[in-house]
Symmetry: C2
Subunit: 195 residues, 2 copies
Amino acid sequence: MKKRIITISREFGSGGRTVGRRVAERLGIDYYDKELIEKIAEGTGLSEAFIREYGEHAPGKNVFSYSFLGRTANGMSMQDYIWTVQRKIIKELAGKEPCVIVGRCADYILRNREDCLHVFIHSSLEKKVERIVKIYGETSDKPEKRLEDKDKKRSVNYHYYTDRKWGDARNYHLSLDSGEFGIERCVDIITGLVE
Amino acid sequence: MKKRIITISREFGSGGRTVGRRVAERLGIDYYDKELIEKIAEGTGLSEAFIREYGEHAPGKNVFSYSFLGRTANGMSMQDYIWTVQRKIIKELAGKEPCVIVGRCADYILRNREDCLHVFIHSSLEKKVERIVKIYGETSDKPEKRLEDKDKKRSVNYHYYTDRKWGDARNYHLSLDSGEFGIERCVDIITGLVE
């Protein structure tokens, strides 16, 4: 079946977002990354900064956990609340125009739609370090630590909501090492499979 | 760096062996699958049937384990012995002509060579069942059970000798769902990345 929707899951620093954006440009379809965060913020009534920072974390079990962000009036954890809204928005988006959706477990949320191509973008530690220092600059944290923290949180969030292992090749139709092939080659392969 | 060696890891029933053979034919390079088993049999003095059946298992800890196959004269488990010979042969092969090597942890054994492209081929359960019934015929075991057993053994063997998770996208440069794309499309993508 022809693929209308492309979901991109990505390691932090792999350039997966850039791959997603370029694929959308090349195919002339919508691209949801920042726009998805805006929609989730609107849907939840929370700030975009909050969604960006915590939307890919799993809920902490108690107030001592770093991921404990409080509860909604009906007792739902903040992350469960974000998850519910995000799931609804992603399903709605996929039902409309063809698009590229980056992150936020979209591969899992849309797993039963046959018109989706699910892609995972990863890269070697060395190449990711090079990329995040170039793009986000130096900070007090070592780049290796930032990479590990970010991916650890995504991985825990993914596992919590999907009961799958993040980064397992079998969750995606296609997994690519962007450090090995370069961004443009990844875009070529993805668009080649869709066009 | 130009890729001279292609390693193919594959789920049982995914058609990964066929992908490997076709890639080798298309590129006009050697293909090691059956030939690798012959070499390992020759190097170990064990039969080809034995290597085929047990070469991708991990050693059992005691005589009650299904994978306990006895020990060599110097106390090495049979699987460790096969592993040592197999590792040596795979390294030697990679040092010679360009080739495609299927299975046997070649991706891990050759992980430090920059001239290797490491590929993982997987497929949905439904498509794998369809394929193994077509190719290997019906048996008394349910096809789902055969698939699960075979991949479980490969996965345990891989983890035992490499300390990595079998099927994790990050172990490979490229992972492809052959059930989704078909064998020929997988061959196109792989050869396109090498040529």
